[in-house]
Homo-oligomer: 275 residues x 2
């Protein structure tokens, strides 16, 4: 990294819209940073697809972010973090942070009874990566992984407070409650959007971990470590936040406005298969 | 078409697994024909994606099917039929049949009161193609289109007879019942898998149209018209049914075995982006 890199943006990507919950945490934690977001809306969801496919898609996205000259990368998608990060991190020349490790670290630290639940897509749970890190950070921990494949479509339908979502939650979370977990990792970027409903189901005493928040904190540490913080004295670009998608920009912006509190510029559509 | 084309297979494609409900109807209707199926499992679902993206994906799949030397093509996916068929049909040199037109034709013919419901993905309903053909085949028909976006994930989770699917069905179908439709087109290949539940909700008197069946009949007519029927006297190839997918072959076969009644060969994974 040469001098001047501080002014470059951080790249953030996700399979689609869910990563905006990570984006908003990074805006809060690092308000001086320019950000580039890519959502792979033409190929969403990633959660039920194979490791090979997710590695291939992630590889293309990393190539795209390289053309955006990002100084650091956040893999905001849990499935991509779980399946592709270890595979691909050597391939990028900038620091790269996924959501799994920071989420696992805080859960391992905060759990009192060592019984930790993880909910996520089929891919995230099947990968076993949360489980692996949790046991590394807290030897002896008992980890209960539970895929919740209907949560993503329910959230994307806007049914954040609806009997359908509540019925699905009751079903998915039953065994985690019965196992007596005192900490639950919301291991998919969509899930914080139904946090109140998960809270209701799990009860007040269970700690809900949103890895998005811990990931933003981790990115802050990384920028300091690499001396990559943007100098707030340097005037900001006209477009500090840029958005790219692989499918229709308008529908992305419509949904995004439910998650972000500021008006979004229209995303630019790119041909991700070309990378 | 030159002589000898009769022995070539028919190509069938879908965004994923749902098209197997069309495949099985074609097996029933045309037992002598060889078939090649492609399921775009790496990019599934199509239902909420934009027209541009669906046209692009369909274009790639048509290029792939060309390499398989098919003598005719069935677009088994309603969303692809609705968004891409009119756009792309001139580009292929073999007869091509979608599911929308045959489904609309029989519904227009069979409805007594001229009130016809169509359920499908957001894309299929938004395209307005069922609505257009219904009004063409039956001027004066009243058409009620209703997107049912949760049906596909619910079916893919195997919840074919489940309170979640029943609750979603009650919600989606309410306005169609209230509108007094006497005919309902199941305008997505996944929906015939929850036919009993749709039947329960709509009551015994409503005609449920599965375009898969009408599509198979239409393909039979087309083969006769073009003199493309396979000669049953010519010995069959060792692999009369071949399957290709863009994601993991094993999980495709697992699900497919719930829909088809014969053991499937393991599908071959192809890189659809390369076409």
């Amino acid at each position: 990294m040469t001098a001047g890199n501080q002014s470059k943006p951080i790249g953030i990507f996700d399979s689609g819209l869910g990563g905006l919950t990570v984006f908003r945490e990074i805006v809060n934690e690092l308000p001086n940073e320019d950000l580039v977001y890519f959502g792979d809306t033409a190929r969403v969801p990633y959660g039920s697809k194979s490791k090979d496919t997710i590695v291939h898609y992630t590889d293309q996205i990393l190539s795209f972010l390289k053309t955006q000259e990002v100084k650091a990368i956040v893999v905001a998608c849990n499935t991509a973090s779980a399946y592709a990060l270890e595979e691909l991190e050597d391939r990028v020349e900038v620091p790269i942070v996924g959501v799994v490790k920071p989420g696992a670290k805080v859960a391992a630290k905060e759990s009192k009874n060592g019984k930790i639940g993880v909910i996520g897509t089929k891919g995230t749970i099947r990968s076993g990566l949360y489980q692996k890190y949790l046991k590394e950070y807290r030897p002896g921990a008992e980890v209960f992984g539970k895929p919740c494949p209907l949560f993503v479509p329910l959230v994307e339908e806007g049914l954040w407070d609806d009997v359908l979502t509540r019925t699905a939650a009751a079903r998915y979370l039953k065994e985690l409650k019965e196992a007596g977990v005192d900490t639950l990792i919301m291991g998919c970027t969509h899930y914080p959007l139904i946090r109140p409903l998960i809270r209701e189901e799990m009860g007040e005493d269970v700690l809900l971990v949103n890895p998005a928040h811990e990931t933003a904190e981790r990115m802050k540490e990384v920028l300091e470590l690499w001396e990559l913080n943007r100098d707030p004295a340097v005037p900001r670009s006209d477009a500090p936040y840029r958005f790219y998608v692989s499918d229709d920009p308008e529908s992305f912006r419509d949904f995004a406005s439910k998650i972000l509190t500021f008006p979004l510029p229209l995303p630019e559509k790119i041909d991700i298969e070309a990378y």
